[in-house]
Structure formats: structure tokens, C-alpha cells
Amino acid sequence: MSERTRNIASVAVIAVMAVALLLLTSTQPATSDRVEQIGTRLKCPVCQGESIANSPSQMAEDMMDLVSERVSSGVPDDQIIDELLSSYTGAVLLDPPASGNTLVLWVAPVVALGVGIAVILWWRRHPGQKADEATSPGKSRTRLVIGGVVLVLAFAGIVVVAANSLQDRPAAAAGAADIDEQDLSEVSDETMEAVIAANAEDPQVNGMRLALAERYFDGGDYRSAFPHYLVVAEDPNATGAEAITALVRLGWMAYDGNGEVETATRLIDEALAIDPGSSVARYVRARVLWCGAGETDQAIETFEELLADPELAAETRTQIEEDLEMANDGGECP
């Protein structure tokens, strides 16, 4: 076979196989797992930069469950993502759209590639240019000055931005010592989670931990509140007041969430062991016994004793008065 025939044969074989491959392959992912794909496009709110598909956290699992439910009921991808973004604060799209303030992310690499190609082509035509220019000292000095100015400006920009980035992220970057001084009402749950995680070993973080747990508690999210209360309750360095709050809340959640009256009273008794006079602990204990064990009389007794205390906070007083009235009326717990 001549070289020419061999070449023609080769080209033919290559062409046939290339066409065969084009016909055989499919660009659809084999897993075609839309759930998984949507999962990689969202950042898990409580994790350390992981997508919800990759995170083992409870919240990520809940979100993935929601995704698979929506996918199976035929909701389009974008709508599912929008729903998750609006219902989970702190969930962030990991797939930046090619528009608005993330457009530059998509444009810049293309521009970089274009500039690279242009430089290479230019360099091919003018390989010696650079050295000729450099041999004339005047040009060289001008270029040096311009280069220097550009560099200084660029780096000044970086420094300013970076310094801001550290300052603007006080919650995420603050030392534990600053935690108490912050106004927590402005801080988001996720940020607090992040700070707490970052300073987990610091006893001073307990204040923030409790504040966050109270938020979850007030919102009825016992599951999220629980671990934080538990840490504070078990921390030997927590202050008495912190420990009492944590134990009382744990007790209430044990009753309200799981119906475990015994566990609840045991936890609240631990709080009372720290301070037998704690009105919150006594109130919650009485209420648990009343609602959970039907001990109405004992509850009425405790409520009356508490109301006798002139220093009782007005809010708590109203609450106890309401409860007392109900207990006196029929004994049914609300």
C-alpha cells in the first residue's frame, strides 16, 4: 500500500469513528440527578462553605429533602432555587449568574484569554521591541514611573479592600473578647453560628450562644436551639445565670418537644440547685408539672409565691397571673 493510500485510509477511518462518536454520545449526565445538580448550586447556610449536596449537616439534609420533593412534583429548577433562597436566610447561590455584579466573573476569564492571545500574537511580530525600547534610558524611565504608579495604585486598592473586608466582617473575624460588646440584634443567625463555631472553645462566647439559642427558641426551632443550650448547660465556665437559662430552656423543650416530664423537672431542678430562688426556674417547673403531670394545686401554690415577690419582672408577672387564673378556673393547661 502506498503512503498516499494509507493516508486516505487513515483519514477515512478517523472520520468514520469521529462521526460514530458524535452519534453515540449523549451530553445528558448519566446520573441525570437533578436533585444532586440543584444541590451543588446552593451554599448550605450553616456550613463552612459547602454546598447543600455535599454537607452532612441536618439543615442541608432538610433542604435536599425539599429539593427532591419539588423535583418529583415537577417544579422547574430555577423556581426550586428561588424558593430555597427565600426560605433559608444565609443560603447563597453558588452558581453566579452572568449578569449584574457577577457578570465580571464570566467576562474576565474570556477577556484574559483574549488578552493572552493578543499578547502572544503581538510578541511574535515584535519580538525584539521590548529590548530596543529598554536600551533608550528615557523611555525606560517613563515606563518605570508609569509601571510604579500603576502598581502602587493597584496594591493600595488591594490593601484598602482587604482591610475593609476584615473590618466589615466583625462577626466572622472578631476576636472572642469583642463578642460581648456587640449589638447582637443586627447580627444574622448564620453569622452568629459562624462566630460561635470559630470561638467554640472560648467561654466568653456563651453569651452569644445563648442569644442565638433564644432566637431559635422564640422561633420554635427547638432542634437548632438544643445543641447550644446543651453546650452552655454543660460548660463548667458558664456563669450561674447562663447555666440556669440554659437548663430551664432545655427542661421546657424536653417537656414541650418530647413530653418528657421527668427529664424536664430533673433539668430544672439542676438549675434550682444553682440558685434555689430563681423565679424563672420555679415558674417553668410549676408549669411543666401542671401541664405535664396535672399537679394543678402545686402549680397554683408556686404561682402565688412567685407573685408575692415584689421584684418580679412586669412581663413575667402578667404571664404568671394569666396562668394562675386559668389554673384556678379549670385546671386545664393552655
Partner: protein
């Protein structure tokens, strides 16, 4: 005692570094100065500080605040050793030690002015890192306010009376879950810190105004050292994530993973473009830019990891070290590029490139692709930080963004890898490329067709196979051509001649081994990303489920108390055709410091791929398990190690190559 010893070591290393800077500069200016003694001082100081930390960890000396806060008497071997780099201050000791060793190597080779200047630069970097250890990141502070476990306050003065806690909380549970934690960070650090050496030679050459071939030769060799370790370190890191992080992945475009990839890409580009300068005298200025960038990117990576600016499984609790690292980064960039601008008139003019169809042409394309790749990773990693700093807007940049840009770039790089090695320097004779690539193309396409008909029709996998086989076949075809030409003359066997061909130009063939490693990684990624199976099941004891051709039977739950943790999980029998293959134990490890358990997957490895079980939920009646397969995942680990092996081989041979006559030049064939 250990606090004193450790602090003394750090201070000795700091003083030694300062002396080295001064004497290095004096010698670089042509003066006489002893650099060996301060070099030894730096090395001894760094070794002493690491030994002091290790002794403290192994003897449970909780009087050191670092030990009190990151170690526990129950921490088993080798995690007690690894605790030395499991948190911020300790990791800087490791950094300092590796830097001291590299500095010593540079000192030993500094027989001329360039070497002396490089010593001064190395020592300058040393002053910064040892300086960190005596200021914002002191690992040898004495605990003065003990907690029940851990330490609340500490003092830098080593003779302070210590308030010794009874025990500590132990290292981060994720870091004591797998033995790789003892290996991955040191290997990666050798890679990271190793990139200081080429930087030092580059800055030395610029400062002395001698941007000739000598700095390049030394920088090139030292970059290969760093690059090989970096490759190995990144591979080990991926393996660790896979074995520990329980989502079956090995790479998530996490900012800190990206921080290791960026210098790797820059170093890879330099390894290629450095060859262009050695062979053709081109790209001199570009090589300076690459070497400086690779080093700056390692400092950027360290800043991202250590400053607490980003949240990641890698980041340590933030500290004042962030601003210090940022300042150092700015200093490095401004200083290096100003120096470069001042010396640019000395950088020789580049000879004209004759044609892009030449080795140097393919290297140009390779450098363009690698640089754009590094830029994509850089912008994707830093843009969310910058945007938030400027506008307060939070945006996420994750897997989907990186995959969309990195995947096409990776395929283009694979294609370049097929062309590059078979294209001669200066330009190919007409028809040469066609002769060399005809069969590889046919074999590659045929493999694609076979795989499409038998295994999968997923386009990405087929493309990876076709390009991968193309690269490997092109390498094989080239070897056969050279060996065949020799055989025709000598009449010896083809195998013997092939060995001779490889032996004559080992660094070239070592490079091809690395290419084969990259191909394995690419095919491994394509399989793992496109063909995994996944399902979630709930089983009661005795119940079975069929998955990926195996029968999985939930045997029973178990609970084991270990010194540092409680392990709770389930035993699952894996069988095929009624034959039990193995028993897997997906589990959760409970540590005192952590509220929930650390979910730890159970992995069964087989040539066709891994079976990967993850515990989701366990209660009295049932267990919920995540079942995954990772097809051909071992290709990734093998590929990573092969790529690094190519680097090490090339290093081992480079010395010999210098004595051997100039090896076979491809253009002559």
C-alpha cells in the same frame, strides 16, 4: 522548661535569619562573610522548636497553652504528633522548620553571588515567619489561667508560673479521624514552602542584575522539587477529604483547595516555560512573572487559610496573623514587581518564534491555558470576598462556576499534552506531526467507540477517554519511533533500545510519566463525576437491599468506646451471589468537644470502583444509610501519585543528565 526551650529555638532561628540576611547581602555584593554558621543556627532553632512542641504533645505537657487548647491526653498516636500542625500556631512551627531546611540547602549551594543573594531572600522570608512566632502566633505561650479542659489566658514569657489544666479538648475532631492528617499537611507544606526557593533565586538575580540562564537553572530545579511535593500533597488532601468528609467527594473548589491549586498551576506553567528559555532563550521576562506569582500565590493561600477571612473546613480560628500575612503579601508583590520593573531593561530580548507548530509554540499555548486557569481560580476565590468588602453584597461562587470554566480548560490542556511532546523544537517538518499522531488519533477514537458501546455514552467521559488515550498513545508512538530508529541501526531488541532511549533523556520521559499521571487523574475525575450511583435507604436489622450489584444486609448496630472518642455505627454485610465479601462499618465518631458525631464513611475499594456507605440516622429500630458508588476513583489517587513520581524521577536524573552528553534532540530525528 519546654516553653523556654521552644521559645529559645524560635529566637535562635530569628536571630540566625537576621544574620543570614545581612551576611547574604554582604556576600552578594562580593564581600566575605560566613553564612554557614547562621544557616546552622536557623536550622537548629527550627528543629529545637519542633522537637519541643512534639515532646510537649507526647508527654501531655498542658502548661503550654497550645497543648492545653489543642491536645488531649486521650489523643492517640499519630494524631498527637499531627496536633503540632492541627492549629494556627503549631502549623507555623512546621512552616518554619520546612523553610529552615530549604534555607540550609540554599546556603550549602551558595558558592557564588547569586546563591548568596538567594540566601538573603530566603532568610528575609524566614525573618517574617519566625517573627510571627515571637509576636502574633507564639506557639510556646505558657498557660496562666487554666480551665477544666483548655486554657483561657496565656503569657509569652516562658518563665511565668504556669496554671496547668488537667486536660485539653484535643484537636479538631475532623483532624483526628484519619491517619492521612499526619501526612497530608507536611507534604503540602514542603510544596508550598519549597516555592520560596525559586522565588529567592529570581529576586536574587534581579537584585544583582544578572537575569541570565543561571538563576533559571536553579529556579527550575527547585520548582520541580516544590511542584512534586505540592502534587503529592494535593492528591493526599483529596484522598483525605474523600475518606473523612463523608460526601464521597475529593475536591469541592473550597477556597483553601483553590489556594493550593493556584501555585500548582503557576509552577506547572513555569516548569514548561522554563524549558523554553533554557532551549530557545525566549520568555525570560515571563519566567520572572511566573516564579514571583507562584510564591505570591502561596502567601495568598496562607492568608486565606490562616486569617479567618473565609469559612472552610481548613480555616483555623482567626487571629492577628491575618493583617500580618496581608502586609507581607503586599510587600512581596510591590517589592518584587518594582524590582522587576527596575531591571526589565536587563532582561534580554527574546528571539523571534519561527512558528507556532513547534515545541515552544505548544508551550506557549500551554502557558496561556494554565495562566487563564489560575486566573479563573483566583477570581472565583477572591471575587466574593472583594465584592462583599466593597458593597456588602454576598455572592457565592462554587462548583458550578468553576466546573463550567475549568472543565473546558482542562480538556484543552489534555489536547495540548498530546501535541506538545511529539512536536520538535523550532518547528516540525511537513508531515511529521501527521505521521506521529495518525495512529494515536485512530487508537484514541477507537477507544472512545469501544467505551461508548460497552460502558457509557456520557460525552464528558468519552471525551476524557479519547483525549487521554490520545496523549498516552502519542507518547508510546514516539518511544517506538525512537527505539525503532535505533534498532534499525544496531539490530538490538526493540525493548532494549526503548530502555536506552529513555535512559538517554530521562527528564523528558519523566515529564511524559507526569503527563500519563495527569491523564489518569482526568479519566478518574470524568468517571467519578459522571457515573456515580446514589441512593438513600432505611433498613431494620436483618433487612437487605440490592445496590450496584451488591447485596447489603444490615447486621446490627454497635458501640465502641475508644480512649479519645465513642464510636457508634452499624455493621453492614456486603455480599455478592450469596458470598459475603466484607463487613462495612459506617459510623459516627463522638468526641467530647463536639456536640454531634463526626460522620465517618465506610469505604470498600474494588478495581471497578468504591462502595461508599454513610450513616444518616440511627435509632432503636432502623438505620438510614446513604449508599454511593465512586467508579474508578482509584485512578485519581494513582494518577496524582504518578504525576508526582514523574517530578521526582526527573529530579533524581537531572544531576546525572548534566554529566551525560546533551541528550537526543527531538528536532534532529
Amino acid at each position: 522548661m519546654l516553653a523556654f526551650l521552644g521559645s529559645a529555638g524560635v529566637i535562635a532561628a530569628l536571630i540566625g535569619s537576621i544574620l543570614l540576611v545581612v551576611r547574604g547581602i554582604r556576600r552578594a555584593q562580593g564581600g566575605e562573610a560566613d553564612i554557614r554558621t547562621p544557616g546552622k543556627l536557623v536550622l537548629a532553632g527550627a528543629v529545637i522548636s519542633m522537637v519541643a512542641m512534639q515532646v510537649a504533645l507526647l508527654t501531655d505537657d498542658f502548661s503550654l497553652a497550645y497543648v492545653a487548647n489543642h491536645h488531649s491526653s486521650a489523643t492517640p498516636f499519630p494524631f498527637d504528633v499531627a496536633t503540632a500542625w492541627a492549629a494556627l500556631e503549631g502549623s507555623i512551627i512546621l512552616w518554619g522548620l520546612v523553610l529552615a531546611v530549604f534555607t540550609w540547602v540554599v546556603v550549602r549551594q551558595a558558592s557564588d553571588r547569586l546563591g548568596s543573594a538567594a540566601v538573603a531572600v530566603m532568610a528575609g522570608v524566614g525573618v517574617f515567619f519566625f517573627g510571627l512566632m515571637v509576636t502574633v502566633a507564639n506557639p510556646f505561650e505558657v498557660c496562666v489561667d487554666a480551665l477544666a479542659t483548655g486554657c483561657a489566658a496565656s503569657s509569652a514569657w516562658p518563665f511565668t508560673a504556669a496554671d496547668v489544666p488537667a486536660n485539653g479538648p484535643g484537636p479538631n475532631p475532623l483532624l483526628q479521624n484519619h491517619f492521612l492528617m499526619a501526612v497530608h499537611p507536611p507534604v503540602l507544606y514542603i510544596g508550598y514552602v519549597g516555592l520560596t526557593v525559586p522565588f529567592a533565586y529570581a529576586i536574587g538575580a534581579l537584585a544583582l542584575g544578572v537575569p541570565g540562564p543561571e538563576w533559571l537553572r536553579r529556579s527550575h530545579r527547585s520548582t520541580l522539587v516544590a511542584w512534586s511535593f505540592l502534587t503529592l500533597g494535593i492528591t493526599l488532601g483529596g484522598w483525605w477529604a474523600y475518606e473523612v468528609l463523608s460526601w464521597g467527594g475529593y475536591w469541592a473548589w473550597d477556597p483553601v483547595e483553590n489556594a493550593s491549586l493556584m501555585p500548582w498551576l503557576a509552577a506547572t506553567a513555569f516548569i514548561h516555560s522554563g524549558l523554553v528559555q533554557q532551549r530557545r532563550g525566549m520568555l525570560q521576562a515571563w519566567n520572572f512573572v511566573l516564579v514571583i506569582s507562584a510564591f505570591a500565590l502561596t502567601i495568598l493561600g496562607t492568608f486565606l487559610t490562616r486569617s479567618g477571612t473565609i469559612n472552610s473546613v481548613h480555616s483555623f480560628t482567626q487571629s492577628a496573623i491575618g493583617p500580618a500575612l496581608l502586609g507581607f503579601l503586599v510587600l512581596v508583590l510591590v517589592g518584587s514587581f518594582t524590582l522587576f520593573a527596575m531591571r526589565s531593561h536587563l532582561v534580554a530580548s527574546s528571539p523571534r518564534i519561527e512558528t507556532f507548530v513547534s515545541r515552544e509554540g505548544t508551550f506557549l499555548v500551554n502557558n496561556l491555558l494554565l495562566t487563564v486557569y489560575a486566573f479563573v481560580v483566583l477570581i472565583g476565590t477572591t471575587y466574593p470576598l472583594l465584592l462583599e468588602a466593597f458593597t456588602g453584597t454576598q455572592v457565592g461562587v462554587g462548583e458550578p462556576f468553576f466546573n463550567r470554566l475549568a472543565v473546558p480548560l482542562s480538556f484543552m490542556l489534555l489536547l495540548t499534552m498530546g501535541f506538545g511532546p511529539v512536536t520538535p523544537w523550532r518547528g516540525a517538518a511537513p508531515g511529521l506531526l501527521w505521521r506521529r499522531l495518525r495512529w494515536p488519533t485512530i487508537v484514541a477514537l477507537a477507544s472512545g467507540v469501544v467505551v461508548a458501546l460497552t460502558v457509557t455514552r456520557v460525552a464528558w467521559v468519552i471525551l476524557a477517554i479519547v483525549l487521554g488515550v490520545f496523549v498516552v498513545a502519542a507518547i508510546g508512538r514516539l518511544l517506538l519511533e525512537f527505539a525503532g530508529a535505533r534498532k534499525a541501526k544496531s539490530g538490538l531488541s526493540l525493548y532494549r533500545e526503548a530502555r536506552t532511549v529513555i535512559g538517554n533523556d530521562q527528564s523528558f520521559w519523566a515529564g511524559q510519566l507526569s503527563h500519563i499521571g495527569v491523564v489518569l487523574v482526568a479519566i478518574g475525575i470524568a468517571f467519578a463525576a459522571n457515573l456515580p450511583l446514589h441512593t438513600e435507604v432505611e433498613l431494620a436489622p436483618g433487612e437487605s437491599v440490592e445496590f450496584a450489584g451488591y447485596t447489603l444486609t444490615y447486621d446490627a448496630p454497635f458501640r465502641r468506646e475508644e480512649p479519645n472518642r465513642v464510636v457508634q455505627g452499624v455493621r453492614v454485610e456486603v455480599s455478592r451471589e450469596d458470598r459475603i465479601i466484607t463487613v462495612l462499618e459506617p459510623r459516627a465518631n463522638f468526641y467530647d468537644t463536639e456536640m454531634g458525631g463526626i460522620i465517618t464513611p465506610a469505604v470498600m475499594s474494588r478495581p471497578s470502583g468504591d462502595l461508599y456507605l454513610t450513616l444518616r440516622n440511627l435509632d432503636a429500630e432502623t438505620v438510614q444509610l446513604g449508599l454511593d458508588t465512586s467508579p474508578m476513583i482509584w485512578l485519581l489517587w494513582l494518577g496524582g501519585v504518578t504525576t508526582a513520581a514523574g517530578g521526582f524521577w526527573s529530579l533524581a536524573m537531572r544531576r546525572r543528565d548534566r554529566v551525560v552528553e546533551e541528550p537526543l534532540v527531538l528536532a534532529d530525528v
